[in-house]
Symmetry: none
DNA sequence: CGCCAAAGTGACAGCTTTGTTACAAGCCGA
DNA sequence: TCGGCTTGTAACAAAGCTGTCACTTTGGCG
């Protein structure tokens, strides 16, 4: 889960510290001292995450955040705001302007790393709210409906999420533990074998409408959702 | 996902309980009663995970944790702290000193096992494998598929790994023991002749799609994967 | 040609992984 | 609170993989 990170922080000490810590966590860090520097960098490179200090000389972090969010090009880049203690009320403003997370100084490097991982994960699987359709199978996240060639299919919540994940990540094997992370959430502690059972339930539901064979077992590796074969 | 675990816990009852539970989960557990014992063990062996009790006689768990984190050699080993209820505020300290996770007693064995799995997974390098293709033979690690000129080939896990290794290291002879190291893992104890058998199985699978002759025997040396006949 | 070591082959028992079913606990709306 | 779903787990069955062995074939060499 290594990532390119743009750090916008004017205080040299903190900047160094963060670069060190994030570097150790396997991330690539580029630092900018102010909003202008950040924008200059962004013209050429799109980082995976932006760490944005609230207090900056010149254009403030919040303004930069707002500006980035207004720009289509930077829409998908997660932004984490760094705020000092006592600026708590800023949190609302911060999240309001489009930051994905915020963290209050002083914070432990661990926590920051964890939050970075969290926003990356949140963004990573592009499980959009868009309807997905393939091979006559249609899943609409908004209305929470699944249908095969027009005929509705009944799915429980878990099977629904499972199918949604599969349809947005087809043709690729996922291990049970990956599926637990992605579909159940990585803070849920259930047996890996539970996945098997839900796979079966999903298969049963799909079979009923002649969509069998799409959920495939890859022995020793996991499961794959596929239109082929 | 079996792992070598170093358990640092002074209370015999809990120690026994954990050894039992983790053992059942397929892990290898070594226990130390105090920081000194742990350090002694670490001099010779590097575990996959360290479970560290907060309260220890002599050097406290937190000090040991800090000390380990300061030592380059132990940097990559995940540490999970075991804390008693009511030491909640220690959490921050714990994570601050470099623990990867913490768990509050009393906890269910299941939860502990899950957290161990989580830290292991988090550390595991996310190797994004590129598809390999040569002479009409295509192997895609992500979808875990092999095909010859479009036609799918069925391979068991071992044959898949074997072919993957061969395709990423073509035109070169590997001895049986090298192949065991690379494909089976260097901690596996199997007869060298086992390689022969899997070579044969791989050949059979490839023959079926007219890709015979690619796995070549080099008498007295080993095997080679080659496009040339 | 005859011998010996190396490699090929087929069978198989044991083991691991996965499928399937049943069941109890939890949740939620009626 | 009562039923009907959903969920997680356990237990057992089925299927597939693996490692090893015994036996055969091949290749090299005197």
């Amino acid at each position: 889960m290594a990532a390119n990170i743009l750090l916008v922080e004017d205080e040299p000490g903190i900047q160094e510290l963060l670069k060190l810590n994030l570097g150790q966590a396997g991330h690539q860090v580029t630092a900018a001292e102010d909003a202008e520097g950040a924008l200059r960098y962004l013209k050429t490179t799109l980082p995976d995450v932006i760490l944005l200090d609230w207090m900056l000389p010149g254009m403030s972090g919040i303004d930069l955040c707002r500006r980035l969010r207004a720009d289509k090009r930077y829409q998908p880049v997660p932004i984490i705001m760094l705020t000092a203690r006592g600026e708590e009320q800023d949190r609302v403003t911060g999240l309001d302007t489009g930051a994905d997370d915020y963290i209050t100084k002083p914070f432990s490097p661990r926590e920051l790393v964890a939050r970075i991982r969290a926003v990356l994960r949140r963004r990573a699987p592009q499980m959009t709210e868009e309807p997905v359709e393939m091979a006559g199978l249609r899943l609409d996240p908004t209305s929470h409906r699944v249908s095969a060639n027009g005929k509705p299919i009944d799915l429980g919540p878990t099977e629904f999420r499972l199918l949604h994940f599969f349809m947005t990540h087809p043709e690729r094997v996922y291990s049970r533990s990956q599926l637990l992370d992605q579909v159940w959430g990585d803070d849920v502690f259930v047996e890996e074998r539970t996945v098997d059972v839900h796979i079966r339930r999903l298969r049963l539901a799909l079979e009923a409408s002649a969509h069998d064979g799409m959920v495939q077992t890859v022995r020793g590796a996991g499961y794959r959702f596929s239109v082929q074969r």
